[in-house]
Symmetry: C2
Subunit: 232 residues, 2 copies
């Protein structure tokens, strides 16, 4: 199984990690904001500041894919945006499937931001017969039973799982059987997948728990510093 978070890719230039790609995505977003403000040239210092990385990090991340800046000047925003879009693969349209039309699934169907990176939820699946056949935010809900055929007919390669954790593995297996090559998983469970399928987990629980840990830690530290050395 490939864990995207630890996955590394080697090009003819060097090896870079999945983390690099996530940062590229972040840079792209900030570049678009600059563009909206009619800025045309930006330096690595400026773009890295609003992305919370060092300028060197930014320059190195780009260096894996080519040379996009002008020494002594900076980066032409228009060009860098289209280069990044091309690198990330969002310069063409992607159609994705969504499985599990619960409250989170519904929220994603309503999310307009997807179009920003050329992405369209082409179809959705659920087991609830009350939902099947209906359209929600313009997306048709199919029965999970027809998953494989609908996905193949629509030539879809990427899917989003927003089911309950109990059935997430089962759904993932079905998706892989239908030829899906990338899964964005919102179910709080570590999915087992075959080697040629990429998984990206969006795990609110992990994020929240680690947040709680750090807030809690800070409180403990504070207590210790103020002298109440009761127990550690």
């Amino acid at each position: 199984m490939k864990k995207l978070s630890r996955h590394t890719i080697c090009t003819e230039k060097k090896c870079f990690s999945a983390e690099t790609i996530r940062r590229l995505s972040l840079y792209l977003r900030n570049l678009r904001r600059f563009k909206e403000s009619k800025v045309e040239i930006v330096s690595s210092g400026e773009i890295s500041k609003c992305s919370n990385v060092s300028p060197e990090q930014f320059r190195r991340d780009l260096s894996y894919f080519g040379e996009f800046g002008k020494r002594g000047v900076g980066y032409e925003i228009e060009r860098l945006i289209s280069e990044l879009e091309s690198i990330l693969g969002i310069d063409r349209r992607w159609r994705v499937a969504l499985v599990g039309v619960g409250s989170l699934g519904r929220a994603l169907l309503a999310f307009e931001g997807f179009s920003k990176f050329n992405l369209k939820i082409a179809c959705a699946f659920d087991i609830d017969s009350n939902k099947i056949g209906k359209k929600i935010y313009g997306v048709k809900i199919h029965s999970v039973e027809n998953l494989a055929e609908v996905i193949k007919a629509n030539d879809i390669e990427i899917a989003i799982i927003t089911t309950l954790p109990d059935v997430a593995q089962q759904v993932a297996d079905k998706l892989m059987g239908a030829g899906i090559k990338g899964i964005l998983n919102f179910a709080p469970i570590a999915l087992r997948t075959s080697d040629d399928v990429f998984i990206s987990n969006v795990d609110m629980a992990c994020e929240l728990e680690s947040l709680i840990f750090f807030v809690d830690q800070r409180r403990i530290d504070k207590k210790r510093r103020t002298g109440k050395k009761s127990e550690v």
Copy 2:
């Protein structure tokens, strides 16, 4: 600014990263699943397998906080669960605030899984006067104007941002002013925060774009392997 994803903490034992804490959260979840299946003892091999990490990784992660296993035997699940809950700080109740009751915010209000880690959304905020004063899924919606006073009155330290990116920074500033110490940010923007506030970003866009990159890459590789060496 502290980036949670890169933040490191030093105890009297050693230094560990925020990644370690995320994994602890994952272990905890899997341990609970084992417990539901009435398993009582588990080895590092078993627990690490379903968490997609190596057994050594699992043992090392625990070693930062103490010795919880028995050599030659394994880990007593019941005990390890309560130890992890204590380490993560979820052995006591946390009340959080949510800002931005859009479709995603609403989905989070409906999410029952929060209670699993002793977390309750105590209040929510929005600017829409149609929502203010109402209760959604049992949570009262306040005006953002009263944010500081409501948060202070409820003694809340953690907040979730589910607003549009345009106003997210503004909301974050208000939250910090009200004494919030941890923010779970769903808005696709890198927030600027003061040093003593922890930020954890749940960034669907980054995850999706990196997923697209890898799926796309795989397709390019495939094309290259099959001989069509047109362009790289």
